[in-house]
């Protein structure tokens, strides 16, 4: 059952998965494009290189977000198109079908995770690091895997919802943004920004998106 669901999901999402895999492989390599001959380089140059490498690292949580978005929404796209009739008529509990779809999506997510890991290892091997600078390919890969899985779970849960629930979610988001705009236009001093508060809650521990924040560096001291 799982094998067939995985196969069907792969056939539906193979293009974005391949694209994500290529990007995931390429990103770590981008960090070492200017990293040749670093072993004996002056401290300033190493510092500049580390800064440049960390700038590229910012793109990795973005890729995790994109992977979660594409695979999370993609997991339900074929069922949405068929108004879930086929899924509802299957002889398994609905929770089981949701689990199968989730497991298949998470398995597909492993492809960009693995290619990121391979890219990170290749990047690490291709550069001679000066003393005091270390590579963290496995840690970066594990963090990317966790971030992509969190994003996938969020978008998977959102996209499983009915149109009504999706509209309600959109309505809440629009309401928050509108409340912010009204507060801003009234120029009320000390009025807390609703958007900023929500963003803070989501991106700081234990907010679900906190994993995307902070430093994402393949190389660090």
């Amino acid at each position: 059952m799982y094998k067939q669901v995985l196969k069907a999901q792969w056939l539906a999402a193979r293009l974005p998965v391949v694209l994500l895999a290529v990007l995931a492989f390429a990103l770590p390599l981008l960090t070492v494009t200017s990293g040749s001959g670093l072993a004996n380089a002056p401290v300033e140059r190493v510092g500049q290189w580390l800064f440049a490498a960390q700038q590229v690292g910012v793109l990795i949580p973005g890729l995790a977000l994109l992977a979660g978005l594409l695979l999370g929404i993609g997991a339900w796209a074929p069922d949405h198109a068929a108004k879930h009739v086929y899924a509802l008529a299957l002889p398994i509990p609905r929770s089981m079908f949701v689990l199968l779809r989730f497991a298949a999506g998470a398995t597909l997510l492993a492809i960009p995770v693995v290619t990121l890991g391979v890219g990170a290892i290749v990047a690490t091997l291709s550069v001679s690091l000066p003393d005091g600078v270390h590579a963290y390919p496995l840690q970066l890969t594990a963090r990317f895997a966790m971030a992509a899985l969190v994003c996938f779970a969020i978008f998977f849960a959102i996209s499983i919802a009915t149109k009504r629930a999706a509209l309600a979610t959109l309505g809440v988001i629009c309401g928050v943004l509108l409340a912010d705009a009204v507060l801003a236009s009234l120029s009320i001093k000390d009025a807390a920004s609703v958007t900023a508060s929500v963003f803070y809650l989501l991106t700081n521990w234990p907010g679900p998106l906190s994993i995307l924040m902070g430093r994402w560096a393949l190389f660090d001291v």
Partner: protein, 297 residues
């Protein structure tokens, strides 16, 4: 004999204008039950209620002896369902669609599926999005029959198909039914189609079950009677009066549940029967709908 499908006092409301009211269906095990009704009468809604896809506002549903929706997984394991519109994933090839479907059904008969695919002339490696409407219709039938289900629920399975494909699909269905004791619940607004294959018929109009009876009674029991001297007020009758029209000195009555000895009843009320005309199923269906919408006083 027990019932494969049974509903009691079933009610459902969709929006302000549509309602299923007091629906009491009884589909006998092993029967081929034709669920007739005009477009928008609630056939698809009823089917979705039976299969647990919609939640009724009141009433109970039992399918294959199990409660809906509590035991849906077990019910669906023994039920083949062809929905009104195609619902299969269009990016799969026919072979992939069959394998995907088979993975969910323990008793899926792959050999039978292959046999049917060859007899239907379906291309194995073609994507479903490239198949014609007729081929999709055949594929749906192939999938549900290869499940070897105890119950088949078919929602307008031949709607929009050309006569050749329609004949192929219905032949496959009848062939399957002849091999075992499956119950078939088939909805349609194509009266002639059901006349050929069904042994029971239920007529739904505007969310209400107008009649449910054996096909033979439905076919033979609805008559148009020309008579003279009929009373203006009708009391108790041994048949069900569906329609009454006056043309000159004559009256034309459309009745249900007619049997020849009932002619004596007319003599008793001073009327003379001139002619008793058999109505075909479509005419009978139309008369039933007319009478349900505007009952004879």
């Amino acid at each position: 004999m027990s019932n494969a499908i049974e509903t009691f006092d079933l009610g459902y409301r969709a929006g302000k204008h549509f309602e299923i009211r007091d629906l009491g269906l009884k589909v006998r095990e092993g029967s081929i039950y034709g669920f007739l009704g005009p477009n928008g009468s609630g056939k698809t809604t009823t089917i979705r209620l039976l299969l647990g896809m919609l939640k009724p506002v009141r009433g109970t549903i039992t399918v294959l002896g199990r409660k809906v929706p509590d035991e849906m997984a077990r019910i669906m394991a023994q039920t083949g369902y062809v929905p009104e519109r195609p619902h299969l994933y269009p990016y799969l090839t026919l072979e992939q669609a069959v394998r995907y479907h088979a993975a969910f059904y323990e008793g899926f008969d792959m050999a039978y599926a292959g046999e049917m695919r060859r007899s239907f002339g379906l291309p194995l490696d073609q994507k479903l999005s490239h198949l014609s409407k007729g081929e999709i219709g055949k594929l749906h039938m192939l999938l549900v029959l290869a499940q070897r289900p105890k119950l088949l629920v078919l929602d307008e399975p031949t709607d929009g198909l050309d006569p050749v494909v329609r004949r192929d699909v219905l032949s496959a269905l009848l062939d399957f039914c002849s091999q075992g004791s499956a119950t078939v619940f088939i909805s349609s607004h194509l009266v002639h189609e059901l006349e050929r294959i069904c042994d029971w018929v239920g007529v739904l109009d505007n969310g209400k079950l107008v009649v449910e009876l054996p096909m033979q009674s439905f076919k033979n029991g609805i008559k148009r009677i020309r008579l003279t001297g009929a009373p203006s007020l009708v009391g108790d009758t041994p048949f069900v009066l569906l329609q009454r029209e006056t043309t000159g000195t004559e009256q034309v009555w459309v009745v249900r549940g007619w049997q020849p000895p009932m002619a004596q009843w007319f003599e008793g009320v001073g009327a003379a029967v001139k002619e008793v005309v058999d109505l075909d199923l479509e005419e009978g269906f139309v008369e039933l709908l007319r009478s349900s919408r505007a009952p004879v006083s």
